[in-house]
Symmetry: C2
Subunit: 191 residues, 2 copies
């Protein structure tokens, strides 16, 4: 009987050890880099949390380029933190996937549906790594390793920083996050 109790006493210890190990490990969806500082494309970003889609969204001059859909995904650990605080935590990764807009395929007779990937861009918060806390990385074609981070003078920064509703990000276009940011007082009304 005493031996039985001793055996049972081990169980919480084992579970505790597993939990401690998990707590000290970075979230599995944290940004990963190559040794020369490029971002590795998160392999399963399509299983991350979807924030929204747009079609043909343009912030600059109208009518340039092919009309595309954009889908935005965020890593689940950052999403959960945003739900609690209305802020993006360190190690947030936003992935913007641009896809061609198709029409009149299969039984579809009007409107647009999504085709192949045309480009992938990411917006990453890594406070100690980047001088402006956030950085932008683009991926060419089907590359799984990004180009070098955009230069600090690039337009991605100069547009996102003044215009992003929450911490340089375009939460104003993510309908499920708007009420959270407003409730937490982190939503900045932009021009």
């Amino acid at each position: 009987m005493q031996r039985h109790i001793r055996v049972l006493a081990w169980i919480p210890l084992v579970i505790g050890a597993i939990a401690l190990t998990a707590a000290n490990r970075p979230a599995p969806d944290s940004p990963q880099y190559t040794t020369d500082g490029r971002l590795q494309l998160p392999q399963n970003y399509r299983e991350w949390v979807f924030l929204s889609s747009g079609l043909g969204m343009t912030y600059g001059p109208i009518g340039t380029g092919h009309v595309m859909f954009d889908n935005v995904f965020v890593n689940p650990s950052a999403y959960r933190s945003f739900l609690d605080t209305g802020r993006w935590p360190d190690k947030t990764v936003l992935v913007l996937e641009a896809r061609g807009a198709e029409s009149k395929g299969s039984i579809n007779r009007d409107g647009h549906f999504q085709g192949e990937i045309m480009a992938i861009e990411t917006h990453v918060k890594d406070e100690k790594r980047f001088p402006r806390q956030w950085a932008f990385f683009g991926f060419r074609g089907t590359a799984t390793v990004s180009e070098p981070a955009a230069e600090p003078a690039a337009t991605c920064y100069t547009c996102h920083e003044p215009n992003g509703a929450v911490d340089t990000t375009f939460v104003q276009f993510y309908p499920t996050l708007i009420p959270i940011a407003r409730a937490k007082g982190t939503f900045k009304t932009t021009p």
Copy 2:
């Protein structure tokens, strides 16, 4: 020493018992019904796996109604099964969320972004419950309980059954699933 070995021998038993309990429980993202057979809106479907978006997609006559975005999500357990088999397992839940298409908000100057929810429709596979294996449930406004399942003669069935590329579902519009279904031989080329 012998006692030590006996203690360690317990650990796989405990883990095995936990795993067995989990295996016998229905997936937490399985469809849930009211006692009168209506579907309960999955509370966290926005955290499910996103399949695709369209804008103004019409299968019927062109030019009717307000142009809307549609976002499609699937429960994660069904998604994982589809990746392995190219088929939808029992208890698949597809959620179609229609949202208004907004334009010229914030710094956006062209194109469309997503606004408020206009309608939610679901397509549910529950082989023993539905005579046609699948059923459609719509939700009015902000309701969290559906209307009764669509009648078997409804157009949702008569359109999805002949035209859905995989098992009455419109996989032909879900770009990440098309190559999987083709590789598994489950993709049916439709008109």
